[in-house]
């Protein structure tokens, strides 16, 4: 796994944490506010859907960036016990 790909993966995880945190701010759940409407849905509903879709998109990026079993050097014969 290249350094660049590893950094990209960490960046995706950080973005997922940030997006999750945003879901609990007034940007998504303003108390008692229902405007603006989008596609016939009140703010918390559509903003919540956008947050969920973003998280799934970030997950797909993480899936692309994470190494397969064969690519991971730590899986290629080096046992846990020998590292400990």
């Amino acid at each position: 796994m290249t350094v660049c790909r590893k950094a990209g993966l960490y960046l995706v995880y950080a973005a997922a944490a940030l997006v999750s945190a945003i879901a609990f701010t007034p940007l998504v759940i303003p108390s008692g506010v229902i405007e603006p409407w989008l596609f016939g849905m009140p703010r918390t509903m559509w903003a919540g859907i956008v947050v969920t879709i973003t998280l799934v998109f970030l997950a797909s990026l993480a899936a692309k960036l994470s190494p397969t079993d064969a690519e991971d050097p730590e899986d290629a014969g080096r046992s846990e016990e020998s590292r400990a």
Partner: protein
């Protein structure tokens, strides 16, 4: 509807028998029985994980939650599920690596090995036992509520519950995890179909999504924002619930096992992303059904609302499909949980393989009976009971995650702190200690404290190793 119910119910029963028979024929060893050969592809993985995650709680509890508390229910579950997908990719990678190196018989056994302390395994097992039983019970309870509504005065709820449990235990005992996975596939597809049919018919009665939300606004404007009409969805409540749901793959053994039994990491990652898509696809119609209920049945009880919207308003075949959908939803989640408890117990036992497997099967029966008793005495508040289960098991999360991801597991202080946290949370549920500490919720506070203790211990232990 009764005729359709007999037809669809018989088809489902026949498929279950087939699943149990095929699984029984294919199961050769004890590990095969509890881990289903550990060779699942992404699609089967998706359906079994989704069926285990989305249960009666989703099909019955969540529409009622939307109806009563409004759109904040989306943040409560869907956002947490989205984040959970990312966690599956990250945690699944580390978990599978550890499982390859140390062997995997169950999370409790793995923790005992990683911490080099059998009490880590016992603490984990104690935590999941205490908080999974209510979750199993609500599956059975939810279904019994529904069957009582269809056949009023035919049988008392506890006999319905006992019948469901007997069928579930029978095919689990015969076919093991493979039979459960086959039944999950049936359930995942049925659940998806049923919620969409009901949701589309609900939306069409209003003419569209916009009209449905406008009608909900006219009933109670507070349904369309947080904290909702009853003020439930405070930021603290949502954050505490978020962590409860987020940590499920690490804290609830029926889900952890499914990360292990996938063929390879590529398939696991595919499965994770598909679960996120599945969550969106299943929760959108659930929200619509809930909003429909908020408009049509604002004052109805949970039972009245569910019976009307899922049964009496539907055509015969759809109503029957709802019943079968619920039956499969409840059974596939509850059997996975009871079976996972058995698997966890097995991972803590040592001795001759056949004797241990016999003990495991007996334990599965025992767990089923405890769940049955709890289902009879529990309340109808399905989502809130599920939330207690999520937040209770979340308390073992820091211990599990640190044990799995750190090169060297943290010390015994983490195990002790986790046990104390679990005890405090339980006694807060029975009212012996307050559930609020100042302005903070005890469950959230305990989770944060356990997270800090675990992080500090991990840093100290890994620095010493280096």
């Amino acid at each position: 509807m009764i005729t359709w119910l007999w037809i669809l119910g018989s088809v489902y029963a026949a498929l279950l028998c087939l699943a149990a028979y095929v699984s029984w024929k294919r199961t050769k060893t004890a590990d095969d029985y509890v881990l289903a050969g550990s060779n699942l592809g992404a699609l089967v993985g998706l359906l079994t994980y989704a069926a285990t995650l989305f249960s009666t709680f989703t099909l019955m509890g969540m529409p009622d939650f939307f109806r009563t508390h409004g759109v904040g229910a989306w943040i409560f579950l869907a956002v947490s599920d989205g984040a959970q997908v990312v966690l599956i990719i990250w945690f699944g990678y580390h978990l599978r690596k550890r499982a390859r190196a140390r062997g995997f018989r169950g999370t409790a056994g793995l923790l005992g090995s990683l911490y080099d302390d059998k009490w880590a395994g016992y603490t984990y097992f104690g935590g999941v036992f205490l908080f999974l039983i209510p979750y199993v019970a609500i599956q059975i309870r939810g279904l019994a509520i529904f069957l009582e509504a269809i056949f009023p005065e035919a049988l008392p709820a506890w006999i319905w519950s006992a019948g469901i449990l007997a069928v579930m235990l029978l095919y689990s005992e015969i076919g093991g995890l493979r039979a459960i996975i086959y039944s999950d596939i049936l359930q995942g597809l049925t659940l998806l179909l049923v919620v969409w049919i009901v949701a589309v018919s609900s939306i069409m009665q209003f003419g569209g999504v916009g009209e449905l939300f406008a009608a909900a606004e006219a009933v109670d404007r507070q349904l369309l924002s947080t904290p909702g009409p009853q003020g439930l969805f405070t930021v603290q409540f949502l954050v505490a619930s978020f962590f409860g749901v987020l940590l499920l793959p690490a804290t609830q053994p029926q889900l952890t096992t499914r990360l292990i039994v996938i063929r390879n990491r590529k398939e696991l990652n595919r499965m994770a992303v598909s679960i996120g898509c599945f969550a969106i696809v299943i929760l959108i119609p659930v929200a619509a059904i809930g909003m429909y209920g908020a408009v049509r049945y604002p004052e109805a009880t949970t039972r009245e609302f569910l019976a009307n919207v899922l049964l009496f308003e539907q055509s015969g075949i759809v109503g029957a499909a709802c019943v079968v959908g619920l039956l499969t939803a409840a059974m596939s989640t509850a059997d996975s949980q009871i079976f996972a408890l058995g698997t966890e117990l097995r991972s803590l036992l040592s001795g001759e393989t056949t004797a241990v497997l016999k003990q495991t099967k007996r334990a599965i029966l025992g767990f089923g009976l405890v769940a049955l008793i709890f289902s009879v005495v529990s309340s109808d508040q399905l989502v809130l009971l599920a939330r207690v289960s999520f937040n209770g098991t979340a308390l073992v999360g820091p211990m599990v995650i640190a044990g799995v991801i750190c090169r060297r597991a943290p010390g015994r202080e983490v195990v002790v702190a986790t046990a104390v946290g679990l005890i405090l949370f339980i006694i807060s549920l029975v009212g012996l200690v307050p559930s609020l500490v100042g302005p903070a919720r005890l469950d959230l506070l305990l989770l944060v404290l356990l997270g800090i203790i675990t992080a500090v211990s991990s840093v100290i232990h890994n620095r010493r190793t280096a």
